[in-house]
């Protein structure tokens, strides 16, 4: 009556419980806000946009040959204030060029905002309609893209940058891209 088959029967609820516990623990670590971008490793979408001061216009081709960050920001974006000092520091260090994409903003507000918080950008492309934003899959401002010399997107960060993201992700990648070239 007590076959070995029967004896281990009681263990199944425990096994199922353990399986569920492991599954839930893994999900706990995952960030549901993090959606992998299909654009990584692909050519950055083309754009031609006016400058914030309306003097020139910038297209993606103009950046060919340099490693650059595309930082999507807006004066209405609360989290942008948070990451802005980091961008100022990064710009001062001269490691990488930063291009701003002023996303769905009012020109005067954007200019005021930069006067107040500093301007780390070598160029600010104005995407008033948000069309370029859609091409870049932007759904949460701020977003930051790292684009290589050939115009390919190497990295994307959604949300405000942190010192860790910059020192552990962006800077090593920039170094790697530099080495690959030379």
């Amino acid at each position: 009556m007590n076959s070995p088959h029967m004896r281990y029967k009681g263990i199944w609820p425990f096994v199922i419980f353990c399986g569920l516990a492991v599954l839930l623990y893994i999900s706990l670590e995952k960030n549901p806000e993090h959606i992998p971008s299909p654009l990584i490793g692909k050519p950055a979408p083309k754009f031609t946009l006016p400058d914030l001061e309306n003097r020139n216009s910038l297209s993606k081709q103009d950046m060919q040959g340099s490693i650059w960050l595309l930082n999507v920001w807006a004066s209405w974006c609360v989290a942008c204030v948070q990451e802005h000092p980091l961008l100022n520091d990064l710009s001062n260090s001269g490691v990488v060029q930063i291009v701003g994409l002023n996303y769905k903003d009012v020109q005067a507000d954007a200019v005021d905002w930069l006067d107040k918080h500093g301007n780390p950008y070598s160029f600010i492309a104005v995407d008033a309609t948000g069309d370029v934003g859609i091409d870049y899959g932007v759904y949460g401002v701020p977003e930051t893209f790292l684009i290589d010399r050939d115009g390919y997107i190497q990295y994307k960060h959604i949300g405000p940058l942190t010192p860790e993201i910059i020192s552990q992700q962006i800077l090593p990648l920039v170094d790697l891209l530099r080495e690959r070239e030379s």
Partner: protein
């Protein structure tokens, strides 16, 4: 008595609330877009805004959401359909930019096999378990008592009867 009525009324309210909460939400559009030239394009557009997710509000589609991004994506969808793109082409346009997460129903691909497969697997597992149990139970019922066992059982019943009726 009053309590019974109260609780039954409460129950009714709860049932109605539950029923309403499961109703499909009524779609609205913040700013109505111009009607599409052909009825087929209109159908494509209507289907798309139900199937595409508003990325910033997770469990709403473009039709239901009044988020600004949803409105922009509705406009973009409208624009693409007017330009003559079919359903599949617009879906590709969106997934190329936002990933498959933009689709309300996840497509069947390597990374989603588990998602689609597990419910079926669970169903089959439970079904085999149930069949197994039923078979086992019917086997027990089919067990025949030997002559001695039958005799012993009858004796026991007989004794029980005698003891309970003095």
């Amino acid at each position: 008595m009053i309590q019974a009525i109260l609780s039954s009324r409460l129950l009714k309210i709860l049932v109605v609330a539950l029923a309403v909460s499961t109703l499909p939400s009524v779609g609205f559009t913040a700013e109505p877009l111009p009607e599409l030239p052909t009825s087929e394009q209109q159908r494509t557009y209507d289907r798309l805004i139900r199937e595409l997710r508003c990325l910033v509000c997770k469990n709403q589609n473009l039709l239901d959401s009044n988020a600004e991004l949803a409105s922009d994506l509705r406009k973009k969808t409208h624009e693409l359909v007017v330009a003559g793109k079919n359903y599949q082409e617009v879906v590709e346009y969106m997934t190329d930019r936002f990933g498959t997460f933009v689709m309300y129903r996840p497509p069947l691909k390597t990374s989603t096999y588990a998602l689609w497969g597990l419910p079926f697997l669970g169903f089959v597992l439970v079904l085999t378990l149930i069949i197994h149990r039923i078979r086992k139970r019917s086997q027990i019922q089919l067990l025949e008592l030997g002559a001695n066992e039958r005799k012993a059982a009858e004796d026991l019943l007989e004794r029980r009867k005698r003891e309970s009726s003095p």
